[in-house]
Point group: C2
Chain length 472, copies 2
Amino acid sequence: MTGLPLSFVLLSLLLVIAAHGHATPKSKLPSLPSKIVQEIQSYQPIADQIIKYSLTGLGQNQSYDRLSVFTDKFGGRLSGTKNLEDSIDYMLDALQKDGLDNVHGEVVNVTHWERNTEYATLLEPRVKDIAISGLGSSVGTGADGITADVIVVRSFDDLDAHASDVSGKIVVFNQKYVSYPATAGYRVIGASKASKYGAVATLIRSVTPQSIYSPHTGIQDYVGNVKKIPTACITVEDAEFFDRIQSRGEPIRIKLYMGAVNYDMSLSRNTVAEIKGSVFPKQTVLVSGHLDSWDVGEGAMDDGGGAFISWQALSIIRSLGLKPKRTVRLVMWTDEEAGGVGSQQYYQKHRDEANNISILFESDEGVFTPYGMLFTGSPKAKAVMAQIGKLLQAVNSSEVYDNGGGTDVQWWRKDGVPTASIANHSEKYFWFHHSNGDTMTVLDPVEMNMCSAVWAVYAYVLADMDELLPRD
Amino acid sequence: MTGLPLSFVLLSLLLVIAAHGHATPKSKLPSLPSKIVQEIQSYQPIADQIIKYSLTGLGQNQSYDRLSVFTDKFGGRLSGTKNLEDSIDYMLDALQKDGLDNVHGEVVNVTHWERNTEYATLLEPRVKDIAISGLGSSVGTGADGITADVIVVRSFDDLDAHASDVSGKIVVFNQKYVSYPATAGYRVIGASKASKYGAVATLIRSVTPQSIYSPHTGIQDYVGNVKKIPTACITVEDAEFFDRIQSRGEPIRIKLYMGAVNYDMSLSRNTVAEIKGSVFPKQTVLVSGHLDSWDVGEGAMDDGGGAFISWQALSIIRSLGLKPKRTVRLVMWTDEEAGGVGSQQYYQKHRDEANNISILFESDEGVFTPYGMLFTGSPKAKAVMAQIGKLLQAVNSSEVYDNGGGTDVQWWRKDGVPTASIANHSEKYFWFHHSNGDTMTVLDPVEMNMCSAVWAVYAYVLADMDELLPRD
């Protein structure tokens, strides 16, 4: 996170609200000219062809199978590591072999943090191993670790109220899970808040609604000039355990060891491939997910699934011999997990293309059973999206809701470029997110077939329509 | 498990079917003499008093709070360990302080297995830590561990079909989860089956319908004269991962280290307390749960909850000054986890009391929201149980289903003694069972209040009625 302001991270987090919250109610849409309605309706045979290809044809289970091979080979793909770069090389080769155009990597500077050995041991009131997951960008403890008494707080207000008791202690945050965007702030700035009062380390309740003693990692940030103290997540179970012990007036003492190291920024690549537009090659529809992941788990759900249905969208269009007028561009982002590092540099480099981008799609909130599209753009554009949605009645994904797009496409919003993401049944997403539970076991080939079809139909139709998606 | 035949363990497992499966449909019950109906109806004010005391009175949250203090203090309580014996001393003291009668421990011989350090590392096709949970009674690997190629099988039939490929290998069982009793056999005898074909170790998919990369332990048994090979459970995720790798023809190689040791049988105690019967002190109603647990997790759900609502039943009766005609006896069993070792010896010692025991209650399948009672006994006895159930309409727990009682009270069935257990919403029980996820976080004080009330009403009414529960 070096060099990135905190607001950057928080903004990214808050943007996730829409996609993970309840889908917003549909607003009344302006009616479209009948010419456009008819134009979109004329794509029904192609949409049906895409759906058939993806659900029962040659594309059946292809995105799931490709992702299985990929995650089984590489596992977690942490930014800054050789493993991530090897996986990018693999992808560039795979995209080339899949017959896509203009396959290349675009170099970006990324964060490089490594976890190394880490553990915590409860020493009082009894000896017990405590599962932890060090947080991205956290400093290590030094070779001797940190042994200190613990104070448990339940909120930032609670921390402030006990400010004078914090110095020299390990602060445990036992905040309730409300929702990811409402709760993740404890993970992001908990260490900074506690450090201000002299804490020597923080252990933060994992940000999840369901635990089987499973710690979750994620990015954190040192705000301003606070002393950098080690910080990790613990399980929901242990946070509640410590809270109970403290409430009985018993002392709690923990030894924390974290071998975490922050290295200099290093080089990585956004992975790009295209289907070149047949009429307006400079105009694009961008579909995306991120290829990097945390080092725990396999990065199958977050965001292998999103990256691979995005590849699949292009793969389907190419396999069916479709030639859209505009270019369909796939970007598999790098270093999303530090707050959208790869996508931010992509934006900086490509910003002058803003007027030529019809829409940016991002899938980073699960590839479970889809039910529609989340969209950010003008009412007129939303009406076009809703009309395209009608092509997807066969996969029950016709609805269009507000607030689409996530961390990696957020940059383009201020330039007025429409963004979208898949509305899918991601209710269990945060059970596995950033944990060892993020594996292929979470994913389902049939659900990925459906997501791929939705992605491909929207991408193709928007790339082939006479006009760019309107912005007014 | 030394000395215990396998059939013993399997029988225990199969008996769990009833409680965890769908409750069986109600059969037509014989009608009761109106005298008995009226007798039972006359207990409605006392039942209401018990329910009020437990849900909103002085007993509110008491079983949950007592269990919190207990599990926070002792954590996992593995048979054969000093920690279990310390926790039994604590309980004897607590029961005494609670004013119960005849508080004592009854010595039994128990198994003594210890896990010690254990780990597995995938070496090929890539290096990865593999979470394991060694199985109770498994031998260790020796100081050098075992490094071997892996073969994955999906069933015992699949193992037999590949018998000639097994020698010298680590066998991974990737059996589907059907239900606990239908699937747990892989954990119990997987090592023996594979050892017969020359396997050097077994790694068995954890027996659970839901995983967040969570390995589950449990008892296993070496059948007959097979060579004893180390055996552990792995996660659902890794079992599926290995299966996929093998299906692609790639070699899998693992290093397994287990420091497990089987010690000689050692001494433990069943923990007993009573409310002495005012008229027929030698006649008893027995309520029970087990105090021992696995060393992983805290043994909060399995079976702290069952043991502590059983204590609570006596605690409520005593606190309300109720004087049942018969003795209500609490037994907190020891060494249930090796297949009911403590309860079997209790049966052998107390068998001559069979005709004086009205019923044995056992809670070992969760203390979630109750909805009735599971019962094994004659139709006439079931009719009595159903009539008592009507006293519990205020907590929606009036229904009586077939097949009650579990591992620890099964011994008494062949003598015709009725057995029962709580029908409760235990749908998530096996998510946490025998894993680090078995903590207080799983439990809910309100649910435990309701279970305690159900337990106390049945125990008190059956102990106070004019007649023992009929057996014909």
